[in-house]
């Protein structure tokens, strides 16, 4: 029972989590003056050194701004702490008071953004402003004239002749169009960020008409996948608008990352220096991060595959960290030999078939995967007796599982929600497929039983007293037969329910809503147990860890949070996304969390230390679906652009692209053995893809992990195994049962 203990302070929290052997870094991180999240020691150190090198004046200025801000918001305690620590060069810009959990994202995002080895002398100013800026979006509504925002924008104050902007830009354009073909594609990447920054400079300096003219002249040249951002940009024509515009702040606070080969870069540099084109050179130095690599320049298609995100590509360093993507060892459970079953199988004359299957199951649990994290890397809840029983059930079902493949496609059972009136917003199935839950726009959550077993509540306390607790069927007796029904409604939210997730043991249900809370419901009593407050804005998604106890949530505040059911405050905050966190997913080994965002990136976070260990770019629209392959090696993602991208987690590379859907993909799921990937979309189709082939082809390729280049073959049509149209029913959830039957769900829109 996940009862909340009131008044938990962070010190207690450490103890609570460290029920098992405490890992060194785990302890260290949590001991850090009560901050729930800290960047890895390495990156914070580098950030710190950068700053100290840059000189203390900027530092001072930033601190003063923060202090001012805190005082204004009456966070006196925080002010005190900050003052005390002001002398330290450590990254304690944003200490965490007991109540200021909402504003805590700023420092962290700064830390994440800083992990670069760019030794440019101008960096310090940008970093200082970026840390301050990152917290702004969460507090934009609060105040008008925040000093931090001004700090951000002041970078634009340098003057140039507005009339010359067009000349500069078209001059560069001419140059890039005239260079050799092999460099042109690479250098063309510069256009978009340059265009945006020049436009913003014009707007900031009140050259409205010039800005408009500039926009109209060159916006058509930009890649089509930036259209959404350009639309936002086009509406922004006044300096006043820039204050409080999130897109703008994103662009300002994060350096746009470009990957360019050394040759191309030299070419560009030489050109700009020859022409004395300082305006553009300044922008490139200040606002762009150019990740230079040695080797062949990339082709247009290679660049297009990786670009599209709000802040350019991921730096190569960002994907270098080691990820333990292997699976945890399954706990040893004595399988009670079911003699009847065995005999029945023998009588049917298939004893041979059964044996190798069992071996394969057994071997999985015996061998320790070198890529797997240690068993207690993060403390996991101990198995209860009921969990063990469920594991046994799972094993039994697994032996009856259908082997899927291109010649053996799964059957699909579709659950249509009728009379939902466009109100169905989220669906989830339990792992054993016995229950289905739907979240609705009218703030309710409904749970259905899809088996003949009806849903029953536990009896009231008074009635429970009368029960003979010694009897064998006490678990049966506590249930109130009168309440049996096929579905139950859970009321409690005050806004549309956008995310929903069953706990693995089927005792709890999580729901996240527009009202900013995540709620934990008991499926025994069908009541709300806890409302987790922390996100002050809509929470778009939530998911339980595959091992239970932990769960992750992500929302409009651009932060994903890790919670434990018995803590009312988050254990970790994963901040770094530049726009809403739209979907969250746990890695099968519970050590990592993947988040997809409207900034069109996917990030993988380490649950242990809260670091961002992978950034995947390549989608051209907000990401709405994520799925880990059952072996933990791969990640599939689907976005509004209708494409499914496949990622190798270990190497941090894109390994496949599946084209076919014509609308947003809302659901992705791998079959239990990982042979088939199913995708469900707004275009009313379920599509099945040959995952084995998609990943097998790769392994023969030699990875050019060093450069991070990819050659994607366009083989979507070969990999597509089937397309199944529904009758005007968008597919918003998919689930493979333990026997590999595919369940799909959606609301019928007549």
């Amino acid at each position: 029972m996940a009862a909340v203990q009131g008044g938990l302070v962070d010190a207690d929290e450490d103890k609570d989590i460290k029920t098992e052997a405490s890992n060194d870094s785990w302890g260290n991180n949590n001991a850090n003056d009560g901050r729930l999240l800290s960047p890895s020691p390495g990156s914070s150190a580098s950030a710190g050194s950068n700053k100290s090198a840059a000189g203390a004046s900027e530092e001072q200025q930033t601190l003063l701004a923060v202090l001012q801000f805190l005082r204004k918001n009456k966070l006196t305690e925080s002010v005190e702490i900050l003052r005390r620590e002001a002398g330290l060069p450590e990254d304690s810009l944003e200490p965490k008071g007991a109540e200021s959990s909402g504003a805590g994202s700023g420092g962290a995002s700064g830390g994440v953004d800083l992990e670069g080895g760019d030794a440019s002398s101008l960096l310090s100013r940008v970093t200082a402003s970026s840390t301050a800026g990152a917290q702004a979006p969460t507090k934009v509504a609060a105040g008008e004239d925040q000093p931090d925002v001004n700090v951000v924008l002041s970078a634009y104050s340098q003057q140039g002749d507005p009339a010359l902007y067009e000349v500069y830009y078209s001059g560069l354009k001419r140059f890039i169009e005239s260079v050799l073909d092999c460099h042109r594609a690479e250098l063309s990447q510069v256009f978009y960020p340059l265009f945006v920054h020049m436009y913003l400079e014009l707007v900031y300096n009140n050259h409205e008409s010039e800005a408009k003219a500039f926009f109209e002249k060159f916006s058509g040249d930009q890649e089509c996948y930036y259209e959404d951002d350009l639309r936002v940009l086009s509406s922004l024509t006044k300096k006043e608008h820039m204050r409080g515009n999130e897109t703008l702040l994103d662009f300002r606070t994060s350096k746009f990352v470009l990957r360019i080969s050394r040759d191309s870069y030299q070419l560009l540099k030489r050109h700009l220096q020859e022409r004395q084109n300082n305006q553009i050179w300044n922008i490139i130095q200040e606002h762009l991060y150019i990740d230079i690599f040695d080797g062949m320049p990339r082709s247009k298609s290679q660049i297009d595959a990786m670009s599209g995100s709000l802040a350019g590509e991921a730096k190569r360093e960002a994907n270098k960290a080691k990820v333990y993507y292997g699976l945890l060892k399954e706990p040893e459970i004595e399988l009670p030999l079911d003699d009847e079953d065995e005999e029945a199988e023998n009588e049917e004359g298939k004893p041979k078939k059964k044996k190798p299957k069992k071996d394969s199951l057994g071997s999985k649990s015996k061998k320790q995967d070198p890529n797997a994290p240690s068993q207690n890397r993060i403390p996991l809840p101990e198995l209860k007796d009921s969990d063990k029983l469920d594991k046994i059930m799972y094993m039994k079902e697994a032996t009856k599982r259908i082997r899927l493949g291109p010649d053996n496609l799964p059957s699909i059972c579709f659950y249509s929600f009728l009379n939902a009136y466009q109100g169905l917003t989220a669906v989830d199935f339990t792992d054993d497929s016995s229950l289905i839950a739907g979240g609705f726009a009218d703030s309710t959550v409904r749970v259905w039983s899809v088996t003949p077993k009806k849903l029953r509540k536990v009896k009231s306390a008074a009635d429970l007293n009368l029960i003979d607790k010694e009897s064998d069927d006490v678990l049966e007796r506590i249930m109130d037969e009168k309440t049996a029904s096929e579905s139950k409604i859970l009321c409690g939210h005050s806004g549309p329910v956008y995310g929903i997730s069953f706990s693995p043991d089927r005792n709890y249900l999580l729901s996240s809503s527009e009202d900013g809370t995540v709620r934990l419901w008991s499926l025994q009593t069908f009541t709300c147990l806890v409302g987790y407050k922390g996100h002050n804005y809509p929470v778009w998604d939530t998911q339980f860890s595959p091992h239970g106890y932990y769960f992750v949530s992500g929302g409009h505040d651009r932060v994903a949070r890790l919670w434990a059911t018995d803590h009312y405050q988050p254990l970790r905050m994963f901040s770094g996304h530049l726009a809403d966190v739209t979907c969250t997913r746990f890695h099968p080994n519970s050590n990592y969390v993947a988040t997809g965002s409207s900034d069109r990136t996917i990030r993988l976070w380490d649950v242990l230390n809260g670091n961002c260990v992978r950034i995947f770019t390549g989608h051209k629209g907000p990401i709405h679906a994520l799925a880990f392959s059952p072996n933990g090696k791969f990640l599939a993602s689907g976005a509004t652009d209708g494409r499914v991208l496949l990622w190798d987690i270990g190497h941090g590379l894109m390994v496949g692209e599946l084209k076919g859907h014509t609308d947003t993909i809302y659901s992705l799921r791998f079959s239990r053995d990982g042979e088939i990937l199913a995708s469900g979309s707004m275009d009313n189709t379920v599509r099945l893809w040959d995952a084995t082939k998609a990943f097998d082809d790769l392994e023969t390729d030699d990875f050019t992990a060093a450069t991070g280049h990819i050659h994607l073959q366009d083989n979507s049509q070969e990999l597509l195994l089937g397309t199944y149209m529904t009758k005007s029913t968008p597919v918003i959830h998919l689930h493979f049962t333990r026997r590999n039957l595919l369940l799909a769900a959606g609301a019928y829109n007549p």
Binding site: A141, K212, F215, E216, S219, G220, C224, R231, S235, L236, T237, K238, E240, N245, N408, L409, P410, S411, I412, C413, F414, Y415, S416, F417, L418, N419, A420, Y421, Q422, G423, L424, T425, I436, G438, F440, A441, R446, V450, S487, P496, Y498, E514, Y537, P538, H556, D580, S598, P622, H624, M682, V686, Q717, G722, Y724, T726, K727, P730, I732, L742, A747
Partner: protein, 623 residues
């Protein structure tokens, strides 16, 4: 393109006049033009911002339509108070008025009578959300069930049958394209060959799944079985289910074989059942029958022109079957006749040829005429009218000559009424007004006088129908006078028959098309039998009305009823005046009443039947 659109996006700003109007509405009188511009720019920007946020909510709500609640949520996100209670039926809630040099916007608020609101019945409670499961795919194959979209849309079926070379199934097409690509890259010389291969029409296998086989068995058994309720259900299924495409070849063979066997055995009932299956197949909106016409058309034509269709030609109503089949034929001509298959002209030729043959029996003759007549007024005009004289002479020979056989006489009788029925309306259109009996006699011979009276009736009826504006739900139209053979003796002066209003105890009101003429002189002996079903019966029955006044195709409607439980509720018999012509027979109207809820929009035309029939077409042919 894209550039243009973007420019538009860039420049869209609310007009300053709106700002002024809004300012006035909140009490700010004089607003500077400059401030108006500034405000409108700011407002436009904020509105765009909110719209962008609202889109986010739409995406997460998994919808394609932006709703007002999305906007509310977006406002909430910006810490702006949402709009409360704003509701307007109209697009713009306020009105504009000017006068005396002043311009004014005002909200138009009408007075609402509270009692109206209180007294209006509550709207129905919306249905609760429910969950329904179905198979989207079974081992990779999508089953053809109503829950799934039809596997092959009708357009595709049509294209497949008319232009078989162009169409490959979507998946195969892509495959072929890919194949072609790879092949083209590797071997250029093999290209032509490859192309030839691709152009081959894919051979489609027609294997039925076990479920489909079961379905087929059930349906065919029900269609020819003895239980009328089951048959109605089966036909309903054939006429509506989307997934029958796969089974179409089976059905068409079933029908064609069935007709072949049953014609030999003179099993009228089964033939009728089979024709009803054809009808149901044609009614199915997801099926395109073109490919199977070579089996269906011979079967249908057999039912039209076969010499003998039943065991007792003198008693059984095989005429109805011929009529029905003729209508089916006409329908398929209309739907499927193209310049390449020439169905209509080929059919016309067949009918004409056997009609012209002197040795043709009366039954076949009837079928040929019916088949031709159903093809439309043009066919009647060019093919039937010129032969009226010849046909009239032949009928006269049978009717007035020495008694040959009863069967021949009945046959001639039917041919005569058929000719009168179809020709009258056509003649009424093409002949100028004054209908002179003698003139008719010279033009059309023996049939002339009768034609004349029918034409006159047709004219008055046409005039009537033009007047008739409001149709009631249940309409008893006048029976076609041309139908009744027995009226042949009447002179053309007989006034139109009186319609009358019948009050049936079960609150069913039968309105005549012409109320207000109940006291017409010399009403003919008219007998109404109104039948009503008992309220509890739920089985459905198909009713095919045989005498539809205008439409060439039969009106088919499903009427909940049960044959066994029907009881006549009212039997009205308006006394036949002794002063009237003695030869006037009783006319029976059979009206099937419906349960009051289902009665809307169903039109039941009574049928005049003087012959004993087997009642296979449902109730209204039962005498």
């Amino acid at each position: 393109m894209a550039e243009e659109r973007r420019q538009k996006q860039c420049s869209v700003i609310l007009p300053t006049e709106s700002m002024k109007a809004m300012a006035e509405s909140v009490g700010v009188g004089q607003l500077q033009e400059e401030s108006c511009v500034a405000i409108s720019e700011e407002v436009s920007y904020r509105i765009k911002e909110i719209a962008q946020d609202a889109l986010k909510f739409m995406h997460h709500g998994k919808r394609r339509k932006l709703t007002t609640s999305d906007i509310d949520n977006a406002l909430k996100l910006k810490n702006v108070e949402p709009l409360y209670g704003f509701q307007s039926q109209e697009f713009i809630p306020f009105r504009f008025a000017s006068g005396g040099g002043r311009e004014l916007h005002f909200y138009e608020e009408r007075e609402v009578d509270l009692s109206d609101i209180i007294n209006t019945p509550l709207p129905r409670v919306p249905l609760d959300v429910s969950l329904k499961a179905h198979w989207l795919s079974i081992e990779g194959v999508q089953p053809a069930i109503p829950e799934n979209p039809p596997p092959a849309p009708k357009e595709q079926q049509k294209a497949e049958s008319t232009e078989p070379l162009k169409v490959a199934k979507p998946g195969q097409e892509e495959e072929a394209a890919i194949q072609g690509k790879s092949q083209g890259a590797t071997a250029a010389d093999g290209k032509g060959k490859e192309k030839g291969l691709i152009r081959l029409k894919p051979r489609s296998t027609h294997e039925l799944s076990v479920e489909q086989q079961l379905y087929y068995k059930e349906i065919t058994e029900a269609c020819v079985g003895s239980c009328e309720a089951k048959r109605a259900e089966a036909l309903q299924s054939i006429a509506t289910d989307p997934g029958l495409y796969q089974m179409l070849p089976r059905f068409s063979t079933f029908i064609s074989e069935g007709v072949r066997v049953n014609v030999v055995q003179n099993n009228l009932a089964l033939l009728i059942y089979l024709m009803r299956m054809v009808k149901a197949l044609m009614d199915n909106p997801t099926l395109y029958l073109e490919k199977y016409l070579h089996e269906l058309i011979p079967a249908v034509v057999t039912c039209i022109v076969s010499k003998q269709l039943c065991l007792r030609p003198d008693v059984d109503n095989h005429w109805a079957l011929r009529d029905f089949a003729a209508r089916l034929m006409a329908q398929s001509c209309k739907t499927f006749s193209t310049t390449t298959n020439n169905i209509q002209s080929r059919i016309t030729k067949t009918f004409t040829k056997s009609w012209l043959d002197d040795k043709t029996q009366w039954t076949t003759r009837y079928g040929c005429i019916a088949g031709l007549a159903e093809l439309g007024p043009d066919v009647i005009k060019t093919l039937i009218l010129p032969r009226l004289t010849v046909e009239g002479a032949r009928i006269k020979a049978v009717m007035e000559g020495p008694v040959v056989s009863n069967i021949d006489k009945i046959g001639a009788d039917h041919v005569q009424s058929l000719l009168l029925k179809h020709c009258a309306s056509v003649i009424a259109k093409i002949r100028p007004q004054p209908d002179n009996v003698e003139q008719y006699r010279t033009d059309y011979g023996y049939l002339g006088p009768m034609l004349c009276s029918h034409v006159m009736k047709a004219r008055t009826q046409a005039a009537l129908q033009a007047q008739q504006v409001n149709r009631t739900t249940l309409t008893i139209t006048q029976p076609r006078p041309t139908l009744s053979v027995s009226q042949s003796g009447l002179s053309g002066s007989t006034g139109p028959r009186t319609p009358s209003i019948i009050k049936v105890p079960s609150s069913l009101t039968l309105m005549s098309p012409r109320p207000g003429t109940p006291s017409q002189p010399s009403p003919p002996a008219t007998k109404y039998i109104v039948m009503a079903t008992s309220a509890g019966t739920a089985t459905t029955q198909q009713v095919i009305t045989l005498s539809s006044s205008q439409s060439a195709s039969p009106v088919t409607s499903t009427v909940p009823s049960a044959t066994s439980t029907l009881q006549p509720l009212v039997k009205l018999e308006s006394g036949s005046g002794p002063g009237l012509t003695g030869s006037r027979p009783l006319q029976k109207y059979i009206v099937v009443s419906l349960p009051s809820s289902a009665s809307s929009s169903l039109e039941i035309l009574p049928c005049l039947v003087q012959l004993k029939t087997q009642g296979l077409f449902g109730l209204n042919v039962k005498g």
